[in-house]
Symmetry: D3
Subunit: 325 residues, 6 copies
């Protein structure tokens, strides 16, 4: 996408109206209460033999939406005395928690990392192990974006965001972790989950959202032809009479409404040639973000964003917000 | 696909080895028994206002897998005294039962037609209304082909084929239908379901399977790059360690094993340039088919197959097998 | 085409200047007079064996441009006493009249339907049987759009629109048809022909034009890369010195000039993501339409438009304009 | 097309059976006699102002099929005393005679060149000026390949090959041309025409056919997905019931049947990665060629063939066969 | 590219700010002085046997950047008394000087033509024979656009533009050439080189720049996805921290800065649907051009521009500026 | 690439003839001797601040081909007493050494890793910092594959393979490294370099070559359309007269000739749907490999190969060959 739909000078000021249902907060309060009632926070962990010497990896399970077991990896530096700061990371669309060796960065930098598996995903590019036990809820376009989309109660991301919150609950209970110094982080879908969790869990040390997905969703479906936003457009293309129902549901899950509630320090990144998560939608979220914030801009990049060039920025941000005072 | 992978002279003799699990028949007998135990056969019907004068359409529901409600349309010629011969039709991949006006052919030719909705599908090209209430069963590649594929018990098509059988059960109970003169029919996935149902339900008048999908599945994943067979290949691409598990499951659902059991008269069609359901896989099924059979060959066609040119052939076949004697 | 070139709020007001040659009316009056002089209106019909019981189909021929024989299908409900209201339908680009079973809708709803074959087309997606005996008129880009385009007298659509008018003339002469209750209808090219015929034939009951082609042609060649408008652009790309000649010819055939003359009640449909017949060009026509009019808007659709969701709308419109008073 | 369908070692021996109608020779004898009866050979020429100093260009017209006027360019070196050897060149698919400056090579090498316009083409890549006044003959797939294909008498290439013959007739009558030293030449479709004309006109000095089209047509439609052979495949895809009719017609026009009759010295070229005119079909023709012959093989080339590297080869061949003895 | 990013009415006034380094003139004066010091102007020529009779071709070598030998072809009409006007032509991106028979136009029109090989190119579409002996200068994206781009001193086009200047120096020394009547010309990259050379060499008779590349480079990388501008965008995509360095270098090579210095009469051409060298960038250059100028506009064309239709325009322009007074 | 060109049963036996120049060994002995004479082995290292705690990273430089400085990263576990086993890794095509955080695996597993930058590459997907100071050597197709390909002495990979050898020389001199326990490893191009270095350097502990590139090159250019093998095919497409010269040069660099000389234990991996490095070419190399060897086969994978699933296999192999005895 070379053609700039909106120049940077306009993007930095772009703050479109949000569409927020009246019962947004109730909906989420009820959802989380229900999940927490279903099972107490906790993390079951089993050591994995990896051949690695500097870090240790555990195969973990914690209760997510409806108390259903959600898988993950817990990766920690070996031979370090805690309590450690921690990062809960969420995975990009279509992938799962992957394999132990995929997650060396945060532990190598001195953090405990909890990689949350994304229910029902985990076959497109990295493997997953967590089923999505949500209720069947009518037809869906291939992928996860329209699963149960005709009702907020059955919509897929209700379960996923809840899992994300419960991952934070879980890591905070774990021995050797400093519950006050927990960040949430992710790229694309992972960034979208991080923004949602950042608004739903108090007391987080920081939110790292790279080229986040699930922001300003309706607008996104109007301006990009790329999956996965296009899953929604294609659903509406077939279900011509369900357009308003669909976007009614999605207003409970749009990142703009979470951004407007987030208070933890946030680091965003945006790529100006990103066709998958258009810069217009990322800035819409960033400009609504309520807490302290900064954003890294990558001019000639698509959805790969800052890549390795952004790693030191993210490490620096994490260090600054987890520094013990 | 202009390049012929196998010349017609070879196709007509192509009859590859089948891979059949020892408990294939038990698996299906148990599955159907369980479904029938969950709910008695029956069809709830509600008249639909369509503006049509020659045919009447009803919105119907019948118990499918696990007794779960499956939707459909029942379309019948108006003003005709029964009992009518009937055709149960199954829909192509990604679609649902669609809209009433989509189904005028069979009723215009004097048949009652029951269009079965395909659970969980119905968003890609035609609308559907039936959720898939199957158990969450691990990660899946977008689409239906790998949903629950790590275990035959949780695999998606276990539910769909059972729905297909129960659709026949349902129509046979309906007033004004001649239970002895019921055909099953479908194109692509619909043809694959028809072949399976044809082997699982005794006493059918005929099976019409156009360019059927789900035949010789493993081979198909090796020779075509097209969806939906490619969903399986892509799942295996990510889950490199699950290849044998996947094909172990699929052997319970491969059309070749149903074809080898089908005894009702069958009409197949095949398109020699079909990249989605390669002719090699269709002939593999046809050549294993146990009952009386005929096949229409369309030389320069892809997956659109015989299209309108095949309609009179199918009507002629249906007439010949439902003719009262 | 996700990217909106023009927002809906602007589309509904979009009414660009028309380019109309001074002798537009004379050109068409002369053309039709000549065609009518060549042969009297009439319809030769031969029964076709279809295996259908609720409707009857006849293979028909009527005199078109220059009195040349044009083929079609006449489909009627069986066992209904007339006189029947009738719909003359025109086919989309590249297709022909197709096969009898393709045309069950209107007859099932109580109308006589005359499906007009499109001369010289009928090989791309549905079969046709009518040659185009027009004069050779210089080079043409593959397809029909530039056949004879260097002169209005030799241009392909002069013959086609005239055929379309003569189809109405023909059906009006036919026994059992109510000449006062004739509609013209079509999708894409068919809709473009319907709009033209609607302006050239007085006394029509209605015009149904779905995602119509051939509206605001010059603008279309500037904003879409899709065939068939692109045939014109590609012709001009090679014939760099003929651009004004080409558009001079096309001004005699642009739907905007017909819309401005149409007085029968009209039902348009438009798809906001239609790249083949861009919404801007459809609204340009609709906003110039002179008679009573309504339009159905399909937001997330491309050129498939309203599909089955639009069928009840069209049936309702037809019923309202053919209701006997 | 990197994948070799047939290795070179096999290609050089590849000589498939020809399909030749019994009345092939009669068909062509009658066709040519009729054309010659319609108008005497001759060339009307008008000087063109080109700004060129070393060569002169004339805009010419000669009688082709049915005596219809066919356009061309006559390009000759200035200030050279004749009689000159001449080359009649035919144009590749979709193009026309182009513009005067496109044709400098042969005149710069001392030949008179007659560039024949291809009727009805001339809009895809180079401009043309000759209409195709053939009878309308049923539906055709966009392009020229299926125009009138349901009958040899109405088939497009009947007219084109006849034009090609009449172009030789015409140049041989022209002052300053040595009628004994006339070659025919062309690339792709031009090469196909040259092979046909080479078999239909006695006494030619040579035939130059580069990557010739229209050789072993039925086989080509089975092994390539590329236009223009695909026009035939796509016609058959829609007209499923006309496959044998189509190839019955095409057997009167297949280059293999002309090659088997050609006696003038021939220079072929073939490109081993040519997907448009697959090497298998070119060798099929070459290996059937009856007269003295040679072939240049370009290994890593597609349909662009030998390009500029082949020019000296062609000039050398032309020099050797036109050398005065 | 059908979609107009900027209407013609705006293009003709489009004159964006230039970005010009302070030492632009010094940089080029030093560069040329150095090159001229390395070797005196001159042209070594060797006759080539081509089989052509109206023109003669010589294989030539002249000293370019750093005195390095640059190859070319010198093509002249035979049997004409000089001194001849001359045209130095530069080749489009990826190509080399090609083969002798590729260059017949200018000589056929009475000019001597020096075709300059482009160092290091000459493999993508036409062959070249001149190596690029520039210093290795860090990583580069495949192609020539980013070779040495981290420093103006090592940048690839410093060498190429200098070669272009030295080509003019060389031809002016050659016997039989009129040094006062030398034009520079080229298409795309060739046009970009011509504009640069036109500003760096005094006393040229004219500059012919068709759809010129290398104009308003930074803007081009923002609005087109096409190679070769995209090579720069892709380099920046990977080297996220070098964006300003890259465009700092490129400001020494941007055609706008040369156009603002060009005083010879110039003929531009522009194609309004050109995605490779967008019309916006061509007009940006044209509107900054300082000398007498004219521009040909091709409306429905992409990067092929005016093609053969533009040849007479270019010949007419060349005649008018080389006419002896 | 679903279509299997060669079944696995045939692949495991596929051992085509090698094309080896007589002076292959001399060529490489001379090349290495010259490089070693130019500069003594050694590694200059500078600590990099990374924010990482478990591993340390150094920015290193060592003398490569012609003694030219080659960059790299040296990554080592912190706080571990040596001497450490080491892995020299080579990068895939188009990339450079990347950024420090990209290389955590080997150090996390207890190895010192030297990442060698690839000269002149490092802009397509990961950044590089090493220029290619080779002699200009005629035209090249964009990319590295044909740089200097007309002569083995100037060919690009002569310099790269020599750099690869010198990287091993360098690491062996470094304090804290066990010179007896050095592996070479790489994916794709990196695997091709590893195979070459494995044959050129005695005493290596092991060679890890994943989906290696540069094996059986001529065959590869005949059976794949994918870059970068296609760079060679495209060069030959333009330079039709240089085909044998090109493959003459490449025979000095073909992995089959190195494999036939490699004696260190080797671990290959191959992906059966790899279109970039076709399995046929990988097995050709593997089957010629002279030393102890094993191969991992990934059935449904393309050029991504075993990905994370292969990591434990590679770690296990490395552990087994570096185990101190």
């Amino acid at each position: 996408m070379a053609f700039l739909s909106m120049e940077l000078a306009d993007l930095v000021k772009h703050r479109p109206e949000r569409t927020e249902p009246d019962d947004f907060d109730t909906f989420w309060a009820d959802t989380l209460a229900e999940a927490r009632a279903a099972a107490p926070a906790g993390l079951r962990a089993e050591e994995v033999a990896t051949g690695l010497t500097t870090v240790g990896v555990q195969d973990v399970t914690f209760p997510g939406f409806g108390g259903q077991p959600v898988r993950g990896w817990l990766v920690r530096p070996r031979g370090v005395e805690g309590p450690l700061p921690a990062v809960v990371t969420y995975v990009g669309y279509g992938g799962g928690r992957g394999l132990p060796h995929d997650h060396l960065l945060w532990a190598s930098a001195g953090y405990a990392q909890l990689v949350m598996d994304t229910r029902g995903q985990g076959a497109t590019w990295s493997v997953g192990d967590t089923p999505d036990d949500g209720p069947g809820a009518g037809p869906a376009y291939p992928g996860s974006m329209t699963r149960g989309v005709l009702d907020p109660a059955t919509y897929y991301y209700r379960r996923v965001f809840t899992d994300g919150v419960r991952a934070v609950d879980a890591i905070r209970t774990y021995p050797g972790i400093d519950a006050e110094r927990v960040l949430v982080a992710g790229i694309s879908q992972g960034g979208g989950i991080a923004i949602a969790v950042g608004a739903l869990v108090p007391g987080l040390a920081g939110v790292v959202a790279d080229v986040p997905f699930l922001q300003n969703i309706r607008r996104a479906t109007e301006i990009t032809d790329e999956m996965p936003y296009k899953e929604v457009a294609d659903f509406c293309k077939t279900h011509r009479d369900k357009v308003e129902t669909v976007f009614g549901t999605l207003s409970y899950f749009d990142g703009l409404n979470f951004a407007a509630r987030g208070t933890a320090p946030a680091l965003y990144s945006v790529a100006l040639m990103d066709e998958i998560c258009p810069p217009e939608t990322v800035y819409a979220s960033y400009n609504h973000y309520r807490g302290p914030k900064e954003i890294s801009v990558y001019t000639y990049n698509g959805h790969e964003g800052g890549g390795g060039h952004h790693v030191p920025v993210a490490l620096g941000f994490a260090a600054s917000v987890t520094r013990e005072r």
